[in-house]
């Protein structure tokens, strides 16, 4: 039941679309509603784009997990890029180092149920989970 369902490398812009489509299909298979599928796909899009923009390459991993609900979808976005200089600032709405809306990370946090971020100058790993209700 548990375990890694898929692994999508992010290296070029089009991989962002591939990652979110994979995520949407998995979410659909796990039984998430269409609204939650949109939330999950959008969160993946944000995480994958951040990898592409700020770390050039990395990967998105999908896992089925168990916890506060029997079924959850865990998404891990991992890269070996420069890391996030100021994590607490990056979580503020509107904070962007690239002229974006800066809605990405705080948005992902709101879209998903659990949000966990680790970043150093060796790279960034973000774990998010959406629970099936």
């Amino acid at each position: 039941m548990k375990g890694t369902l898929s692994n999508v490398p992010i290296a070029k812009e089009l991989d962002i679309v591939g990652a979110r489509q994979t995520g949407r299909n998995i979410a659909n298979d796990l039984g998430f509603s269409s609204v939650d599928q949109a939330r999950i796909a959008t969160a993946i899009s944000e995480l994958a784009r951040n990898i592409y923009l700020y770390a050039k390459k990395g990967e998105i991993t999908f896992q089925q997990v168990e916890g506060v609900a029997p079924v959850g979808l865990k998404i891990i976005a991992k890269d070996n890029g420069p890391g996030i200089k100021d994590i607490s600032k990056s979580m503020i709405d509107g904070y962007s180092t690239s002229g974006g809306l800066g809605a990405g990370l705080p948005g992902v946090k709101r879209l998903m149920d659990d949000f966990d971020i680790m970043s150093s100058d060796e790279g960034t790993t973000i774990h998010v989970i959406k629970w099936l209700r």
């Binding site: 812009e13 089009l14 962002i16 679309v17 979110r20 489509q21 949407r24 269409s34 609204v35 599928q37 949109a38 939330r39 796909a41 959008t42 899009s45 944000e46 784009r49 709405d93 974006g100 809306l101 809605a103 990405g104 705080p106 948005g107 992902v108 709101r110 879209l111």
Partner: protein, 119 residues
């Protein structure tokens, strides 16, 4: 990939039928602005019925195109945003406050006409 832009009298109609990737969105921004320029269109209806993801990047590109078109004298109305997309946008905190919206293409045209008359 390019999104087709239809011209009808002084209006431009666009119905987005593909999953918007970044490149397509940027290309569309460019195409629309040059189409406004060459046609002198005063109104644009952008129908998003078939779009099932708008993330913060695409939202920024689309929001920007509205402000840019405005500078060029064309009013843009978004139509057909799906409930799931709408809720997701609200969740990530994007409200597209300055963009007029309507339920569908027909309502969009009516809204455009009214907005243009008010001017």
């Amino acid at each position: 990939m390019r999104i087709p832009i239809l011209k009808l009298h002084e209006y431009l109609l666009i119905s987005v039928q593909v999953d918007l990737d970044d490149q397509t969105a940027m290309q569309f921004q460019e195409d629309l602005l040059s189409k406004i320029h060459e046609s002198g269109a005063t109104g644009v209806v952008l129908d998003l019925t078939s779009v099932d993801i708008i993330d913060s990047f695409i939202a920024k590109v689309l929001g920007d195109v509205v402000s840019m078109a405005d500078l060029m004298g064309a009013k843009v109305v978004f139509t057909g945003i799906q409930p799931a997309v709408s809720m997701t946008l609200i969740d990530i905190g994007i409200h597209l406050q300055d963009v007029p919206t309507a339920l569908d293409l027909e309502q969009g045209l009516i809204k455009l006409r009214r907005e243009l008359e008010e001017k």
